[in-house]
């Protein structure tokens, strides 16, 4: 695909790509608290503030809990808001994540995915955001710094879309993406401005029958975040779920629009398939590991092995139907989880992918590989090993062990 607009190549790591996207999206309020490996984002943004390159209120809060509360409140006034976090910071936000999605505040957040304590570990895995999968946030995981930049810009459009109005988090693997310098194609500021636009507010009808924008506005007083008891709470939650389902469509739509502009595409925006059409054995994963898997697939394909990859770009809303469709021809599937659901037989990605396939006409054999916890490296030879296991499963029509661990000292 060709780019319809002029782009420049910048050498950026994932964190810098986030900061640049936030700058170009003309965010009104950034409220954040530093945590490794997200720190470069807040430092870089501080640099923009110091040099007058952004027109943004930058609030350096005293905790992530307050960062999310401040973003939510600013969003309620009508501001476009952004924050960034990782690991313990996201765990501290836990309460506010639910309040933010419940208030339908389209806050955008970058998550430099990192392991959760204890033991303390600063390196990359998906424990932090996977633990928040039921928080009502849209979740996207990027494969490289380019996709980080692209996803961030799309995130504002998705979150603020009138059919969605939900917060979005974009995950970038700690250090692997956050700190690794890559060539990133960047659009010019005015092109980004046109793409992202100014935040639009949904209209609501007041008790007086007036149609007004949904925000804290003295001209049209509105009570936000009230108590809703047994007689109303449930309807609020059902509406959130509807917005999530709408997001499946909107994510694809905005992804298409972005692809027209830049020439860059990540599958349909929900899922990316690599050599999957005729694949007999397939890996399902999210994040930067997909890059390694693709390299291995190229090698295997050269040897005549029909290996493929399904990368989950959008984890919430979970594109279950699209996943089932993508894997309909696969005979054996390995789901790689960079987090673990203790006592739950494997990781979340496995559970949900397997669930998506339950109603499939022909179900593949499935196996789960938990890997990379605490930033442990996963090598091409280990990925090759997974494909070998899948071939064996396909031949023997038997899964020995449902949940396996990659590169573990046992």
């Amino acid at each position: 695909m060709k780019s319809a607009v002029k782009q420049e190549v910048h050498g950026l790591n994932g964190d810098e790509a986030v900061a640049l996207a936030v700058k170009q999206a003309d965010v009104d309020v950034v409220a954040a608290y530093p945590i490794t490996p997200q720190t470069i984002i807040v430092e870089k943004f501080s640099e923009y503030v110091a040099s007058g390159e952004v027109n943004t209120e930058y609030v350096c809060t005293e905790s992530e809990h307050s960062a999310m509360a401040a973003c939510l409140a600013a969003s309620a006034v009508g501001a476009r808001t952004f924050t960034a976090t990782a690991s313990a910071g996201m765990a501290l936000m836990h309460e506010m994540l639910f309040v933010t999605s419940g208030c339908r505040a389209p806050v955008v957040m970058a998550v430099a995915n990192r392991a959760l304590s204890a033991p303390l570990n600063i390196h990359g895995d998906h424990s932090d955001s996977m633990a928040e999968r039921d928080s009502g946030w849209i979740q996207m995981y990027a494969e490289n710094a380019q996709e980080v930049y692209d996803s961030m810009l799309q995130a504002f459009r998705i979150a603020e879309h009138l059919d969605v109005q939900l917060p979005v988090m974009v995950g970038l693997d700690g250090f692997t993406l956050s700190h690794t310098l890559e060539n990133v194609q960047v659009m010019l500021d005015d092109v980004v401005s046109r793409f992202v636009g100014t935040r639009q507010l949904p209209n609501v009808v007041t008790h007086e029958g007036k149609t007004v924008p949904y925000k804290l506005d003295p001209a049209n007083p509105m009570t936000m975040g009230p108590v809703a008891l047994q007689n109303y709470y449930f309807e609020f939650k059902r509406q959130q779920e509807e917005a999530m389902q709408n997001a499946l469509r909107i994510i694809q739509q905005i992804h298409d629009e972005y692809a027209e502009l830049t020439g860059r595409r990540y599958g349909d925006g929900l899922l990316e398939q690599y050599q999957l059409d005729d694949a007999e054995i397939a890996i399902v994963c999210a994040g930067s590991t997909a890059g390694t898997v693709k390299t291995v697939i190229d090698d295997l394909r050269a040897g005549g092995i029909k290996a493929g990859l399904l990368r989950i770009r959008t984890f919430r809303p979970f594109p279950a139907i699209q996943i089932a469709k993508s894997l309909e021809k696969a005979k054996a599937v390995a789901v790689m989880d960079k987090s673990i659901s203790f006592g739950g037989n494997g990781g979340a990605l496995f559970h949900e992918t397997r669930h998506a396939l339950y109603d499939a006409h022909t179900r593949p054999y499935m196996v789960n590989y938990v890997y990379g916890l605490g930033g442990r490296d996963v090598s091409p030879s280990q990925i090759r090993g997974i494909y070998e296991d899948l071939r064996k499963i396909m031949q023997t029509k038997h899964v020995d062990e449902l949940v396996k661990y990659v590169g573990l000292r046992e």
């Binding site: 809060t61 006034v77 309040v99």
Partner: protein
């Protein structure tokens, strides 16, 4: 009329539109709605309110009803300070970008003692350190009343609550009340004051000063709670007066860290014989009933001593000389 200078009458107040409306579901005799109503009478123009989880939040906004005739936001228990930060930051930048027309929109945060002394102190401290322009109003009913009278950092010594119960061994709360307003003064913020609803004019005036001052302001308001204090529902406003007259809750202001007594307390400072003994105040409330037994008399003495000590310290901070011998 100038509200900040106290140049206003009851008629002026009555003629101002109500921003906190009747029909809320607070308990009979609760002083907190009176506090909210008085503070909202002090507004100078468009105002956005944020409210921590607590009595006033749950009793004023049960969906689909609301008592608020001004924009109002609640998010969580510990977020009054951080919400005010976000609202103020958004107002500032949206005005700069021309997306908000109002010249000035004020921000008021309301929180109870649980949301202020305990779970919300970090967010409050952070917001004040960052210098956001807002008024924080603590309505202090001295325990977690919303959840059923559990002790907080604002519960006074000796009070029986459901988590600091008076029993045969333990005589109610064994710790003293945290000096929250002093903690706020230590932030070197521009305006800190205490107020009681009996002195309604003083309260409105202070709220208005807090609104008008540039930067953060903190107003600590005494809010008797008949349910939690086991007091007569018709006596709440009177109790707030008695708390001032016993110097349990003196009224003062600290403008840029400079303390000065407000008139009701200044009167006592100048005529120490007017200072009433704490016993008369404690007797009005069932939460202190167990102290009026021979076994617990020493706690009554201790409360008097602590009250005197704090009062004398306050007098010194206000540049006044404490009496040689405290009247008790």
């Amino acid at each position: 009329m100038s509200f900040a200078e106290g140049k206003f009458t009851a008629k002026d107040i009555a003629e101002k539109p109500e921003l906190f409306l009747s029909g809320h579901r607070a308990c009979a005799g609760c002083a907190a709605p009176t506090v909210l109503r008085l503070v909202m009478k002090a507004t100078r123009g468009p105002t956005i309110v944020t409210n921590a989880t607590g009595c006033m939040e749950v009793s004023s906004t049960i969906y689909p009803y609301t008592s608020w005739a001004t924009p109002w936001l609640h998010t969580a228990f510990e977020t009054a300070g951080s919400n005010a930060s976000g609202i103020e930051a958004a107002l500032k930048i949206l005005r700069k970008k021309g997306r908000i027309k109002d010249e000035q929109v004020d921000v008021i945060a309301f929180a109870g003692d649980g949301g202020t002394y305990d779970i919300g102190i970090q967010a409050l401290s952070g917001a004040v350190e960052r210098g956001h322009d807002f008024l924080y109003v603590l309505y202090d009913n001295e325990a977690y009343m919303n959840t059923g009278i559990q002790r907080s950092g604002g519960t006074p010594l000796g009070a029986s609550t459901t988590t600091s119960q008076a029993g045969s061994v333990v005589p109610g709360k064994t710790e003293r009340k945290k000096p929250i307003a002093d903690i706020m003064v230590a932030h070197e913020m521009p305006y800190v004051a205490t107020a009681a609803p009996y002195y309604w004019k003083d309260l409105i005036q202070k709220a208005r000063k807090g609104i008008e001052v540039n930067g953060p302001a903190f107003l600590h308001v005494y809010a008797p709670c008949p349910r939690g204090w086991r007091s007569d529902t018709s006596k709440s406003i009177e109790l707030s007066r008695l708390a001032v007259e016993t110097c349990i809750f003196p009224l003062w202001e600290a403008v840029n860290g400079e303390f000065q007594l407000s008139i009701p307390s200044k009167v006592i400072a100048l005529a120490p014989q007017k200072k009433k003994p704490v016993k008369g105040y404690l007797q009005t409330q069932g939460r202190f009933r167990h102290l009026f037994t021979p076994k617990n008399e020493k706690i009554l003495d201790e409360i008097q001593k602590q009250t005197d000590r704090s009062w004398n310290k306050l007098l010194k901070k206000c540049g006044m000389t404490p009496p040689a011998k405290t009247a008790a």
